[in-house]
Structure formats: structure tokens, C-alpha cells
């Protein structure tokens, strides 16, 4: 059939009933907006997570121990093995540094083997180095000779041993140096409060597809050995002997690199290479493909990404049901048109195409509106957490690409698909209508087949959902069962709303007739007249209320325990760190261990407890490792809390041992008991620790391990700290002196400090912002539901024209007519809210007692959020009432002669 006919019929209809089309477009737009925002946010989270764990992701295989690093000597061992298919073995060192002479600009220090990575024109990093005049040629002669002989390993070693640090910088940094007039001076780098000077000998330019492009404009490149000595400093004893001893120790210091990247020849057998490299490495590090490398990170972010997508899916499904509702009524209104068309020879297929074409157009328009809205939602959310995200990236200035064209394809695809799917069933039903009945404008009896199909779908979804939940431990992924099953169950309940209304009406009717005023009875009867339409809108309203209720409930349930825990563990007077709070937590701005001793020497300071954070892999996920000064922590806390704190004394068992404490959620999630051995990747191979107890801790959803910091430094060869908890002396003089001395010290060292109150506020504010974001997504669901109320009531008014005209004709005032429609809206709002609470409470229980326990191991008691529930009820009923205003106004404007003439 020529599309022109569809366009003609649809366009004119939309022109006449533009408000109906607008509501459908708005429903689709909101659903698409949540989908687009979820995609953008998930992409940003994924990029942030990957950049944190595997920056510069370009190789075919990685030799890595996570944050613990690997021994550089493995490079020579792997090379010496001459494994077939292995093209290049490249050690890599990277960390964040600041440039004090360039306004403390952040940069990424990258250490690579200069000879093969930089001087080779076909280097896999796709960079080009332009030498500068400062290049000390006489020092390079032996290096150039080695390169000419093809001895790359010797060239690299010679480069590492050059006196002074030679560096190349990105074009942007060099331009900044020129602007500051410092291009002829050494470039100062600061890492962990230690300054090193380096001589800039070249400028780096990136190819657009270089794996280094994510580092943006802030790269400082060095030989791998020199970079390793910057970011992985000596133990403190090296500094005591003075400059020469430090140099000597430095030269013989067993170097670690962040990881070793392996590049393969084309068509090499990656599995064979992986096996052979593993044989060389012999357990001192893990050898993995990029996918395997990402697995642990994906496990951590996967839950959050799934949550975003489920929210988006929820919006789209609610939108789908509302579009279905609107299309059902549209088709019912146009029953006569359908009869005419069929009488004139339109086939069933043409009728189906007519209505699905209409839906397609509306869906497309909705998608076009939803895409920019989704981008706005995502930007708003990212703006809320911009500091936190920046802290997670190796390069804090990088902006993950927000937009790519795939988002548009997804948005349009989703919008059009939802609209067409929503319209398909009513369109098929309309096409199957008896043309004679349609021509006579008779009532169409819906085939039993459709009713049966409806019942079947509801049973399948509800039953399938319950089964998936019950059998989740037998499924390949527990998450599929627990979260997927929950989603199926909720969709099934939404779909069965019309059926439930049909059964509820006879039960409620006697009560309403006895207890309620006439206006309410009229409203109830009208709602009961169309259980399908009423049920869908009630379901959508209830879905919005239930989601908000469970979010409020989950928030309340964990708010108190978490805040109580924060109050418990945050006992220090001040907290000293470098960078900012988030970068300290993500170890992007560490401090040297000497800081701890210097702080302890300050007059007025009683105790200092230093913490080093680490994120090792354990059990295919990323866990948190807190290395703390256990003895200082216990002593200081005892003095502050004489009655004692739960689990505090357990920390005294940690020093000088390979014992660890774990958080309660760690033990629960990983099924670890007292006496079990926990194996973590260390710089020279796996390290084994004995679990001696659990403590309450809410730091990390995958669990936290606590060990003594000195033992950590020995085993992991990591002598840095991320944060110092400073306890001042109790007497007044000590307090005052301590604060002043601390402030002076912090200022002198270029550090930052915050007090207990500020830290507490920072943490609670972070939690609240996270919940606010969850609420925002559910508000979208609520808005879609409110649109559904408007649609349903507009249609109701249309179908009640005769009745409303009669009421006006026999003496009802316009106000009474207005109230009757508003009563319908209020009734929808009240019933939807009640059903929402009835669903929301078990949903809250399920999320707290099943999903949260399985995902994070955290156990929280179920707390009913009465105050928030009151607010949600007022908002839901109020929104429904507001949504009823326009239809009520339309009802009041009914022209009596027109409707009675029809009769």
C-alpha cells in the first residue's frame, strides 16, 4: 500500500488529536532519555574503571600483579625464552605526578623502554618524538652504537643509567614551559611529596589512534628504569645515608614496573604464547589477555551498570504500557474508521500497518526528543560526581567521550521499537475485527485467544520471575537470577494490573457505595468500567511509587548503620593527605612514609595513624586492602573511646604477622572463615595471609582486608601512604599547639588537611548524592506514570461525553463536573500509591536481604521509611490530581447540545 495513504490518515489524525500524540511522544522521550543517560553513564564508568586498572590498553597479553607491580627482571627472562609468536616485551611504569613549576599541573609519568618504544618508527604506542637541542649527544654515543648493532636490551640499560633523568614531554606541557620561560630549565616532577628534576630532551606527538591518547595533553615520558625509581621509591633507610648512598641503593634497587605488555606477531597463537610465558614467569605474576584483565573490574562495575540499565528498562516498559493504553483507546475511537476502511477493501495487513505506522512516527519523534534529554540527564549526573570521577582517572583532566553515534541509533531503535511493539497487539486486534460489526459500530468482542495470551504472558512472567529468583544459585550467574528474576516479576505484575483490577472491583464496589460520597462513587464506577485502561495506569503509578519507596527504604536502612560506623571509625582530630579526598582514597596522590614520622614529631600531636589503600584482585573481583598503623590506631582510639569499640582489640594481633582482619561483608561474600588463608598477588608472586577475625566495615562492596602497614610495606615493597589520621594531645595547650603546628607543616609541604566534622560531612554528602541520583531516575518513571494518568483521564472524559452532558443538562454545576473528573484522578493516585507501597515494601526487603547481601555481603535491617513514604504519597497523589486538571477542564467545557444531539 502506498505509504502516502498511511501518511495521509495518520497526519490528519495527529493534527486533530495532537494532545494524544504529544503524550505518547513524551512517554517515549522520557524512556529513551533514561536509556541514553544510562548508556553514557555506563560508558564513563567503564572507561574510568578500565583506566584505573589497565591504562594504556594496547597489548595482546599482560604480565601483571595488579597494583602490586611486577619485577622488571621478568622482562629479560621472557625475552631470553625466545617464545615463538612473541614480537615485543615492553615493561611499563605509570603514575600521576604534579609539576610544581607549572602551577602544580597534573601529569602522567610514563616509563617505557626508550629504545624500542620511542626510537622505532613503527612503535606500537604510535608516538613521534621530536628531539630538542638539549639532547646531550656525547652521552648518547654508546646508546646509538648499541642500537646500530641491534642490541636493544643494552641500549635500554645504558639509557636507564644515564646520569640525570632525561624526559620527553607532550606538546602541551612543552608549550606551557615555553610560555613560563622555563624551556631551558630542568622540569621538576613531584610524586609522593618528593621532587625530582629531569631534563626535557624531546617533545611527543600522538597519532589520533595512539593508545596514549587517553593521557591527553599531560604526558611526561622517561626510560622505564628512571620512571620506576620515581614512582616506587626506596625504603626510608636509603634516605638516611645521604645522597651518595641513595644513589648507590637506587642503582641496585630491585626495580618493579607496573606491568609488562606483550605484543604478538600477526596470526600468533595467543593461547600458546600465554602458556609459555606463564611457564617462564612461574607464578610470580599473572599472565592474562585484556579480556581476562578486565574481568575483575567488570565484576565491580557490572552491578552498577546493570542497575542503570534496569532503571532505564523500567522507564521504557512503563512507557510501553502507556503507549499501549493510548493506542488501544485510539483504535477503539477509530473503530468506525476501521469499519469503513475494511468495507472499502482495506486488508487486515493494511489496517495493522496503518496503526503501527502511526506508532512508528510517534516513536521516532519521541526518540528525537529523548536523545538530547538523555544527554542532559547524563551531563547533570556527571557534573554531580565530576570530582570523584576525575580522581579515579590516571589523568584527571581527561573527559571520557560522552557521545558517539551509537547512542543515537540505540535511542531511535528503542523509541521506535517500544512504540511499535506497544501498538502491535491493539493493531492486530483491530485488523481481526469483524468488518460488518465495525461498519455497524457494534461492540467488538475480543477473541478468547487474546485474553488467553494475556493470561499466559502474565503467568509466564510472574512464574518465570519467581523461578529465576528461587533457582538463581543454579544459574550461570546468580545476578541473572536475582535481578533478572525481579525484573520479570515486576513486569508480570504490571502486565497483570488490568486483570487484578477486574477482580478487585467487585470486592471494592460495595465498600465504595456505602462509604463514599456520590462524586467518588461516580469516579469509581467510571474507573471500573474500563479495567484494562485503569489497570495499566494504576500499574504504572504503582511502579513509580514502589521504586521510590524501595529506594527510600534502602537508603534509610543503611543510612543509620553507615553513619554510626563513620562516627565510630573517624575518631582522629585531623586528616592529612595530598591532592584531595577522592584522589587520596584512590591512591592517585600518595605521600612518602617519612611524612608519618614528621607528623609524629610535631608538638601537640599525640598519635598518627597512616593508611595505605590498595585494590588487589581476589576471587575474580577487586577488593579493598587497608594497610593501617594498627598499634597507633588502637591506642589512639582507646583514649578517645574509653568504653571501647567493637573489634578494636583485634587490630593488636596484626603487627609483625601475616595475619589479616576482614570486613564482615568480605567474609560473607567470599565465604571466608577464621583460620582460612587468603592469597593476594604480590610483586614477586602470590602472598598468603591468615584470616583471624572480622570487623564491621562499609568501605567497599566487595569487601575489605585490614593488615598492619609496616608488614604491608615489607611484603608489597610499597612505602607510600595515602592518608594520615592525626590525633592531637588531649589538653588544651596540646590541642592549640597541635593545630598550629599541623597547619604550618601542611602548608610547608604542600599538603591538605581536614577536620573530623568536614570529613564526616564529605562522606555523608557523597552517600546522599548517590541516592539523589537514584531518585532522579525514578522521578522519570513517576513522570511517565503521571502522563499516563493524563492520557487515561482525557480518554475517560471523551468516553463520558454523553454522561457529562446529561449531568450538566440536569443541573450539575461545572464545579461538580470538574470535581467528578478530579475525583477519578485522585482515586487513581490513592489506589496507585497504596498498591505501590504494598509492592514497594517486599521489594525493599528483597533488595536488602537478597540482592544487597549477594552483591556486597552487607546486611542491613529493613527499616520502613515512614517520613519519606508520606512525602512520596503526597507527591504521587498530588501529581495524579495535577494530571487530572486538564482533562477536568475539558470536561467542564462539554457543549450540551452537541453531545445530546448525538444521542
Amino acid at each position: 500500500m502506498a505509504t502516502m495513504v498511511y501518511r495521509l490518515l495518520s497526519r490528519r489524525y495527529l493534527q486533530l488529536h495532537w494532545e494524544r500524540g504529544l503524550l505518547i511522544v513524551a512517554s517515549i522521550a522520557l524512556g529513551v532519555a533514561t536509556l541514553i543517560s544510562a548508556r553514557i553513564l555506563n560508558h564513563c564508568i567503564e572507561v574510568a574503571a578500565q583506566d584505573t586498572t589497565t591504562p594504556i590498553d594496547a597489548a595482546a597479553l599482560y604480565v601483571s600483579n595488579g597494583e602490586a607491580g611486577v619485577l622488571r627482571q621478568l622482562v629479560n627472562e621472557i625475552r631470553a625464552a625466545r617464545i615463538p609468536g612473541l614480537k615485543a616485551v615492553e615493561p611499563l611504569v605509570y603514575d600521576r605526578v604534579t609539576l610544581p613549576d607549572l602551577e602544580n599541573r597534573s601529569a602522567v609519568l610514563l616509563g617505557a623502554e626508550v629504545s624500542t618504544q620511542i626510537l622505532d618508527s613503527s612503535n606500537p604506542l604510535k608516538v613521534q618524538v621530536t628531539p630538542l637541542a638539549q639532547l646531550p649527544r656525547w652521552q648518547l654515543l654508546p646508546i646509538l652504537a648499541a642500537i646500530q648493532q641491534g642490541d636493544w636490551a643494552k641500549a635500554a640499560e645504558l639509557w636507564d643509567r644515564l646520569p640525570g633523568r632525561l624526559a620527553v614531554v607532550s606538546r602541551s606541557i612543552y608549550d606551557a614551559m615555553v610560555q613560563a620561560g622555563k624551556q631551558d630549565k630542568p622540569l621538576r616532577l613531584r610524586h609522593a611529596l618528593r621532587d625530582v628534576d629531569c631534563l626535557v630532551v624531546g617533545v611527543v606527538d600522538f597519532a589520533p589512534d595512539s593508545p596514549l591518547s587517553s593521557l591527553g595533553k599531560n604526558l611526561v615520558g622517561m626510560s622505564v628504569g628512571q620512571a620506576a625509581r620515581v614512582v616506587r621509591p626506596l625504603p626510608p633507610i636509603g634516605a638516611v645515608g645521604g645522597g651518595f648512598l641513595e644513589y648507590a641503593v637506587e642503582q641496585n634497587w630491585g626495580e618493579k614496573v607496573n606491568r609488562i605488555d606483550l605484543y604478538l606477531e600477526p596470526h600468533a597463537d595467543i593461547e600458546a604464547v600465554e602458556r609459555q610465558v606463564s611457564a617462564v614467569v612461574r607464578g610470580r605474576a599473572a599472565v592474562r589477555t585484556p579480556d581476562a584483565q578486565r574481568r575483575s573490574t567488570q565484576e565491580v562495575v557490572g552491578g552498577l551498570q546493570l542497575a542503570f540499565y534496569i532503571c532505564a528498562l523500567g522507564s521504557m516498559i512503563v512507557g510501553l504500557f502507556l503507549v499501549y493504553n493510548a493506542m488501544v483507546v485510539t483504535i477503539a475511537e477509530r473503530q468506525a474508521d476501521i469499519g469503513i476502511l475494511r468495507a472499502l477493501g482495506a486488508t487486515r495487513g493494511q489496517i495493522v500497518i496503518l496503526f503501527t505506522f502511526l506508532a512508528l512516527v510517534l516513536g521516532f519523534l519521541g526518540a528525537l526528543a529523548g536523545i538530547p534529554l538523555g544527554m542532559l540527564l547524563a551531563e547533570t549526573a556527571l557534573w554531580q560526581f565530576r570530582e570523584e570521577l576525575a580522581s579515579m582517572f590516571l589523568n584527571p583532566d581527561v573527559q571520557p567521550q560522552r557521545w558517539d553515534s551509537h547512542h543515537a541509533y540505540w535511542g531511535v531503535g528503542a523509541g521506535v521499537t517500544v512504540a511499535v511493539v506497544a501498538a502491535l497487539i491493539p493493531a492486530l486486534q483491530a485488523a481481526n475485527d469483524d468488518p460488518a460489526q465495525a461498519a455497524r459500530r457494534g461492540l467488538q468482542r475480543r477473541g478468547r485467544l487474546w485474553k488467553l495470551l494475556h493470561y499466559l504472558m502474565c503467568l509466564l512472567l510472574v512464574g518465570g520471575g519467581l523461578a529465576a529468583i528461587a533457582l538463581r544459585h543454579h544459574l550461570p550467574s546468580t545476578r541473572t537470577g536475582s535481578i533478572g528474576g525481579m525484573a520479570m516479576l515486576l513486569i508480570g505484575l504490571l502486565l497483570s494490573a488490568p486483570l487484578m483490577v477486574r477482580y478487585l472491583v467487585p470486592i471494592l464496589r460495595p465498600l465504595v457505595q456505602v462509604c463514599c460520597p456520590f462524586v467518588i462513587r461516580l469516579a469509581f464506577d467510571n474507573l471500573a468500567r474500563a479495567p484494562a485502561r485503569t489497570g495499566v495506569v494504576l500499574g504504572a503509578l504503582a511502579a513509580g511509587v514502589a521504586l521510590m519507596f524501595q529506594t527510600a527504604g534502602v537508603g534509610r536502612s543503611n543510612e543509620e548503620p553507615v553513619i554510626a560506623w563513620i562516627d565510630q571509625v573517624v575518631q582522629a582530630d585531623y586528616f592529612v593527605f595530598s591532592g584531595n579526598m577522592m584522589s587520596a582514597n584512590t591512591s592517585n596522590s600518595p605521600m612518602r612514609a617519612e611524612v608519618v614520622e614528621e607528623l609524629r614529631q610535631l608538638p601537640g600531636v599525640d598519635h598518627v595513624m597512616a593508611i595505605r589503600y590498595s585494590r588487589p584482585e581476589y576471587n575474580d573481583t577487586i577488593v579493598y586492602l587497608l594497610a593501617v598503623d594498627a598499634v597507633d590506631y588502637v591506642r589512639a582510639t582507646r583514649e578517645r573511646v574509653p568504653v571501647g569499640l567493637p573489634d578494636l582489640e583485634k587490630f593488636l594481633d596484626l603487627p609483625d604477622t601475616d595475619d589479616v582482619l576482614v570486613s564482615e561483608n568480605f567474609a560473607r561474600r567470599h565465604k571466608v572463615q577464621v583460620g582460612d588463608i587468603i592469597t593476594l598477588p604480590g610483586p614477586r608472586g602470590p602472598l598468603h595471609f591468615r584470616m583471624i577475625g572480622t570487623v564491621r566495615d562499609y568501605s567497599w562492596s566487595r569487601g575489605t582486608i585490614f593488615m598492619d602497614r609496616r608488614r604491608y610495606a615489607e611484603l608489597f615493597e610499597d612505602h607510600l601512604v595515602d592518608m594520615c589520621h592525626v590525633f592531637l594531645q588531649a589538653d588544651t595547650w596540646g590541642q592549640q599547639a597541635g593545630v598550629v603546628n599541623l597547619q604550618n607543616y601542611v602548608q610547608h609541604r604542600g599538603l591538605f588537611m581536614t577536620d573530623r566534622h568536614s570529613l564526616r560531612s564529605f562522606l555523608t554528602d557523597l552517600i546522599q548524592r548517590l541516592y539523589l541520583f537514584a531518585y532522579a531516575q525514578q522521578v522519570v518513571v513517576g513522570i511517565v506514570a503521571a502522563l499516563g494518568v493524563v492520557t487515561a483521564l482525557l480518554i475517560s472524559v471523551l468516553q463520558r461525553r454523553r454522561e457529562l452532558g446529561l449531568l450538566l443538562a440536569v443541573g450539575a454545576t461545572p464545579l461538580q463536573v470538574l470535581l467528578s473528573v478530579l475525583a477519578e484522578a485522585l482515586l487513581l493516585g490513592v489506589l496507585g500509591t497504596l498498591i505501590g507501597f504494598l509492592v514497594g515494601l517486599p521489594l525493599e526487603w528483597y533488595i536488602l536481604q537478597v540482592i544487597m547481601v549477594e552483591e556486597s555481603g552487607f546486611v542491613f535491617e529493613v527499616v520502613v521509611p515512614w517520613k519519606q513514604a508520606g512525602g512520596i504519597a503526597i507527591a504521587a497523589v498530588g501529581s495524579a490530581a495535577l494530571a487530572g486538571l486538564w482533562p477536568a477542564w475539558r470536561a467542564v467545557r462539554t457543549r450540551i447540545p452537541e453531545v445530546l444531539q448525538y444521542e
Binding site: A2, M4, I340, L341, R342, A343, G345, A346, A436
Partner: protein, 235 residues
């Protein structure tokens, strides 16, 4: 042309079954103008629906130019209605969102004809019913008589072999009724097009050349129209 052989149509209403037409046999020949008259509920509209492939009989056979309508698929029946049968309904049944010309052109547009050619043909048909000057008006801008003329134009736009009219003057005053009936009386073509009109109005029935009376779903009589006039005068 149109033949009903012992057709019966039974409707199910709740727990009741209601026979609308019982064992009716009727033949409509090319070129005839047949009026089917009967009181409300007599089954005349049902007869027309059966003849026009809008409905199928519970038993018996309905033939159109020798073809058994029940043996056709729904698609084939739709094409039949589109190309070879025209309908005129009591309630005009124009699409409110289309102009008069577009309403008339609708069967051609459904058949995939180009808009230009379809509207050209529609204009010709509107000229035949003296309504070409209102071709771009919407139904709510037309009077009842004008709407029914548009419906007649639509019924003939595809040059059908049969035009079936269900109470075409039911919603019109006497002046408009006469105009419509005059139009319909000009439609039959000897040896080709037949017109069947269902009505309860004897004056309207007199425009036909043959009168079939129906009551309680059965045919009472089938006579040429002149005999009806004589009977009325005798009464």
C-alpha cells in the same frame, strides 16, 4: 451477479442465538435496481452484508459473479469490496480527517494508485454527483445530503459491478432523499452494474425496479416495482 442460496445467519448474544436471516435464496441480475424492504430487525442489513462480503453466512452460500464468497480468503474478500463492490451507508461513514475528494479517492488509494490519478478520478465522480465545488471540504463542513452524495461518489469511484446501499436516505430530509435516490437510480448499467438498496421506506423502495420484502429473516415476496404501486393503490 449476486446470488444467495439458502443462506442463514445466526448471531450469538450472550447465551442466546438470534437468527437474523433464515434460509434465504435470492438472485440479483446485472442491471437491476433491487429494493429490499422490511421493518427494523427483519434482517435486511444482514442480507446486504452477506451479499457485500462484509460477513459470511452461518449456512448456505453467497456467490458473487459465480464465485463462492466463503471460499475466498479475507484478503480476497477485501479486494473484492475494493474493486467490484461499492457501499453507501445510512450514517454516511466518511472519514472525518479526509476531505471530500480524499474520501472519494480512498478505494483507489488503498489499491495503490497514485494520489494525482486517484484524486482526478475522485473529482470526476464528484462532478457526477454535482459536488465538485466542495471537493476540498471536510465532512464536518458538509450538510447531510452533501455527505451522502460524497458517499455515493465513493461507491462508484472504482467503477464497481455492484453498489449496495444500506438505508441511504435514513438520515436525510425528503428533498435530499429524492436527490440521492435519483442519483442511485442512474447507477444501474444494463448487462453490468446492479444496485441493491435496503430501506424501510416504501417511497424510496419505489425507485427500484424490483422489490423484495423481508420479515423475520425470511423473504415474504419478490415482485417488480409496478406491482407494488398497484397494490398500494388497491389498499
Amino acid at each position: 451477479m449476486l446470488e444467495l442460496i439458502e443462506v442463514t445467519k445466526v448471531y450469538i448474544q450472550g447465551r442466546r442465538s438470534v437468527p437474523a436471516v433464515q434460509g434465504v435464496s435470492l438472485v440479483i441480475r446485472p442491471g437491476e435496481f433491487v429494493s429490499i424492504m422490511g421493518p427494523s430487525g427483519s434482517g435486511k442489513s444482514t442480507l446486504m452484508h452477506l451479499m457485500g462480503a462484509l460477513d459470511t453466512p452461518t449456512s448456505g452460500r453467497a456467490l458473487f459473479q459465480g464465485q463462492d464468497l466463503q471460499s475466498l480468503s479475507d484478503r480476497q474478500r477485501s479486494l473484492l469490496r475494493r474493486e467490484r463492490i461499492g457501499f453507501v451507508f445510512q450514517a454516511f461513514n466518511l472519514l472525518p480527517t479526509l476531505t471530500a475528494a480524499e474520501n472519494v479517492a480512498l478505494p483507489l488509494l488503498l489499491a495503490g494508485r497514485s494520489r494525482r490519478l486517484a484524486l482526478q478520478r475522485a473529482y470526476e465522480c464528484l462532478e457526477q454527483v454535482n459536488l465538485a465545488h466542495r471537493h476540498d471540504h471536510f465532512p464536518d463542513e458538509l450538510s447531510g445530503g452533501e455527505m451522502q452524495r460524497v458517499a455515493v461518489a465513493r461507491a462508484i469511484v472504482a467503477d464497481p459491478d455492484a453498489v449496495l446501499c444500506d438505508e441511504p436516505t435514513g438520515n436525510l430530509d425528503s428533498q435530499n432523499s429524492r436527490e440521492i435516490l435519483s442519483l442511485l437510480a442512474r447507477l444501474p448499467e444494463p448487462g453490468r452494474r446492479a444496485v441493491v438498496m435496503v430501506t424501510h421506506d416504501p417511497t424510496a423502495a419505489a425507485y427500484g425496479t424490483r422489490l423484495v420484502r423481508i420479515r423475520d429473516g425470511r423473504i415474504e415476496s419478490d415482485t417488480p416495482v409496478t406491482k407494488v404501486a398497484t397494490s398500494c393503490e388497491a389498499l
